[in-house]
Symmetry: C2
Subunit: 348 residues, 2 copies
């Protein structure tokens, strides 16, 4: 609980308690909190019902009487004490707990700023990584990306950045790896061709989240990095062509990876919506499998791809940047599509 | 393409081709295949449109004319040749390709055998891992589990088994690790208590798939492993109490992990359905977060948990087995819940 919430409930003490078919608390502010008995019983946080060290529930919820009622409930300065029929000791529910769960949770509307070509990309120096971890996290949360300059030109720098963010996920490609143009590899990432904006891992049940691209060497011409904010495109599409947007939220598109002795396939809609907001963008036309859909759905899929991929490839939606050696691009692969222009020369 | 399909289309050659608002093929069998133009153009597999080595699409699908029509289309012994208005050369579509995508795909109804207490668990010897990889994969696909006996009593054996199955995923706990009762750790897995059946990683967006538990040492009494087939329980519930089943497919339940400096939280319904079949089971009452849902939905959630967790804890649905040192339990954590009885003594 944050300090401000603590301060708030200190001012807002409990006045009275009523128990009939639910437990009601009247706060000094005049507001009322309502609690269901089975919910209170399930969330008893005494040692028998909850392991405070592991933060794990102990109670066998399925074994509770769904009609359970308190034998007694009394107000105390510290909160509410309840005697349940299936327990020997009273359970106390602190004021802070009752306050936290007694009101509609303030919906933490996360500030997400969508962007197009004119993004002023958040940048930070590698040397400040430890002190400014919050800046990095906030940049990724808000913009879906950040640039880190002055990195050591070695893969270990990627590991160091990654460890500020979480743990490193294994993929079919390994965990941390470097690549350059390599005709021996079965993926277009290893070519010098331009790559239209796409997300990675559309062939995987769980496409990677945060990705880090560190430029180790750039003596090439071309090779601009291209980033597109998928949430920005989704919002525009939802506003201007909601039918197409809805199709792209519904029609599953199959990604496929075939090569290096591996065959992976998975379905994702272009936009995954949760609680009324787009939470995941998944689009990779390179890796789209041959799919047979019913005629009508297939035509809607093609229309959707035509519209949305034109937007992904519209310069107005593309932020472009040429990475220098020692610069790392950190981006949220669930939100931001990435690509690059073609290049000549060496780049790693 | 499998050999049997190859044989099939060899017998079933093309007779005639019609082009009006679609392309139709009449096969010698009398059957007709219909192909939409945009689909055919998108799936042209010549070098300009498709990279045969990386198996990746090159064509910029969004740039294709949705009203595209062939300039010409002709039957050849090898298949169909089409001249598209936006291409210089003809594209050929082999008979095998036209056959593969010209008919409704035979729905590969995977044989899944659900089970209860009387499961005859598939077993194999560690020494046969290389030769009988197919048996291991088929056992997991069919039963969601397998036992491997005679493993070296060291974590490297887990890595060896895992590499027969895919790549090893990193989690907050690392990749391969050993544990025994350890009061210093923030998770009930490290205690000697019994653990009711649960799936792992309900607090993660992407709970682990196949898990491997290798018994390194067992000089304990108790410590029976308990496995429950979530698909079996889902089928029974869907049949007998479809309202409860539907609730459990819909109500998102929040898992939480808090400890060791980490806070993770994610929502999953107990049963995730795809294409009319349960494809993922996610239930861990230990790690269920305190959640406020609208009253009516909350009561349905508690009813759902009461019903389904009673089934998970019903001995008739539990396959029980005491692992000996050197035995590994491999199971699909998207299907099979695992638990254990309490124990005394040392177990690793």
């Amino acid at each position: 609980m944050s300090d401000s919430v603590t301060e708030e409930f200190k001012k807002d003490r409990l006045e009275t308690l009523e128990v009939d078919d639910e437990l009601r608390l009247l706060w000094r502010s005049g507001e009322i909190s309502r609690f269901n008995f089975i919910w209170l019983r399930d969330n008893a946080r005494d040692a028998k019902n909850f392991d405070a060290r592991s933060h794990q529930r102990r109670v066998y919820t399925a074994g509770l009487d769904p009609e359970i009622r308190p034998e007694s409930a009394r107000l105390e300065s510290a909160g509410v004490c309840i005697k349940w029929p299936d327990m020997t000791d009273e359970v106390s529910y602190p004021v802070s707990f009752l306050h936290q769960y007694g009101f509609d949770q303030p919906s933490v509307q996360e500030v997400v700023e969508t962007w197009g070509a004119d993004l002023e990309a958040p940048k930070m120096a590698y040397s400040t990584l430890r002190d400014r971890q919050g800046f990095l996290l906030e940049s990724i949360r808000r913009y879906g990306m950040a640039i880190i300059s002055g990195c050591p030109k070695e893969p270990a720098a990627v590991t160091e950045i990654a460890e500020r963010l979480g743990y490193i996920r294994q993929t079919i490609f390994g965990d941390v790896w470097s690549f350059e143009a390599d005709a021996a590899r079965d993926d277009s990432a290893y070519s010098t061709e331009g790559l239209r904006p796409h997300t990675d891992g559309s062939f995987s049940f769980d496409p990677p989240g945060i990705q880090i691209l560190l430029c180790l060497e750039n003596v090439a011409s071309g090779a601009e990095s291209i980033l597109v904010d998928g949430f920005h495109v989704a919002a525009a599409l939802c506003r201007d062509q909601s039918d197409v947007f809805n199709d792209l939220c519904e029609i599953p598109i199959t990604g496929i990876y075939k090569g290096d002795g591996v065959l992976l396939r998975a379905d994702h809609p272009v936009f995954r919506v949760k609680d009324g907001r787009v939470c995941q963008v998944c689009f990779n036309n390179y890796d789209r499998d041959i799919m047979r859909l019913p005629d009508e759905q297939m035509l809607r899929m093609y229309q959707g791809i035509r519209v949305v991929d034109s937007m992904f490839n519209d310069r107005a939606n593309q932020w472009r940047y040429t990475l220098a050696a020692g610069e790392a691009l950190v981006f949220d692969n669930w939100r931001v599509l990435h690509g690059r222009t073609a290049y000549k020369g060496r780049r790693k």
